[in-house]
Symmetry: C2
DNA sequence: CTTGACAAGTCAACACTGTTTACTTATACC
DNA sequence: GGTATAAGTAAACAGTGTTGACTTGTCAAG
């Protein structure tokens, strides 16, 4: 039940640096997506790509370099922050329900799954900062945009984390429409410029 | 700069199963807390406890057994759900600001740091379910208590996760009082029985 | 006091990980 | 055609968690 798929006739192949690099990258993305970063070994990626293990470190420095390059090319919010700011919370809520609760993006899975490895922190740090928090903060008006954006992102990440642990089957069972409604209210509270007094 | 501290005269020690077990447990808790589960090897725990590596597997089945036992004896909400339900959101907000944003509990750190290892999922799953989500849900009135509790827990976990990645320096820099106020509103939205229409 | 038995503790090995070094081999240019 | 150089490889290194066979200490029975 293993996958020795070398994708091609393995020995008789022209030597093409760029093509080999891409093949490793594709294999890594596929395996990381389906099994998670920590669960896929360098040797398995190499075998899947029909390539020697040492090439991973030759072309990407280390295993973490693979993840870094994959994540860097992954879209996060596909055009959610653009559009009417008034309905931004609802769009984010729908994104959570339809993407984070189901499958979830590679970025998110990778983030949650590798949050324990300090080696990978800097990767996620930069990516979250530049591709998630900052764009969201920029789409807001008023003061404390960074804080408000961070709170909303926290919620999204936390839901994904709980979901991954399969603790919140209740969320999955809950009606989609109702959940979107609830999340919209919560995200509005996260993004609110001034917290209304009790 | 290493720690060969065997804690005692290493060779001339009486053979006491329970004492040895406890010493391993204490060493593991100390190291896991300060460096994280994945970063501490079995051999280092054994050396720190002045004990042979094999005893870890003998007494705890595997490394994950150590974490399971440590987490099981760790208090999560020290009596937060008890008390006036009206001010529960504020108490949770204060807990987040003073514990999650600062250091964070061992449970939380362990959860975030080991969320990538499927071997550990079941541990956190059970613990989160029984010691966090369920008690919080039980303290709520009305319908959908599980969903509402899960949403609040998601927020708490997400904030801890972002904090760990040091993305949200903005949250740490933000005034404590203001942050508590903001979080109180958000948690109220999470725990609200019926989401108020826009 | 001596002798077993059994538990407590040890050692060496296993299969695996990511990474590196020295090596071979194919390609492209003169 | 010969050769420099890049592409690709094999083998080893140090590390991980885990396991089974082994030694050794302790304590009760004869």
């Amino acid at each position: 039940m293993d996958h020795p798929d070398t994708d091609d006739v393995c020995a008789g192949r022209v030597r093409d640096k760029e093509a080999t690099r891409q093949r490793i990258l594709d294999s890594a993305r596929e395996l990381f997506t389906s099994e998670g970063y920590a669960q896929v070994s360098s040797r398995r990626i190499a075998a899947h790509a029909g390539v020697n293990v040492a090439l991973i470190n030759r072309y990407f420095g280390a295993k973490r370099g693979l993840l870094a390059e994959i994540i860097a090319n992954e879209a996060v919010f596909p055009g959610i922050v653009e559009g009417d700011p008034a309905t931004l919370p609802r769009r984010l809520a729908e994104y959570i329900v339809h993407h984070t609760l189901g499958g979830g993006s590679l970025l998110q899975r990778a983030l949650e799954q590798s949050a324990g490895d300090p080696d990978l922190w800097s990767i996620h740090q930069e990516r979250l900062e530049n591709a998630v928090v900052q764009p969201l903060a920029d789409s807001l008006d008023g003061h404390d945009t960074r804080v408000r954006a961070s709170l909303a992102v926290s919620l999204m990440l936390g839901i994904g984390l709980l979901r991954r642990l399969e603790v919140v089957t209740s969320l999955a069972e809950y009606g989609s429409a109702d959940l979107v409604e609830r999340l919209t209210r919560i995200i509005e509270a996260c993004l609110a410029e001034t917290s209304p007094e009790a």
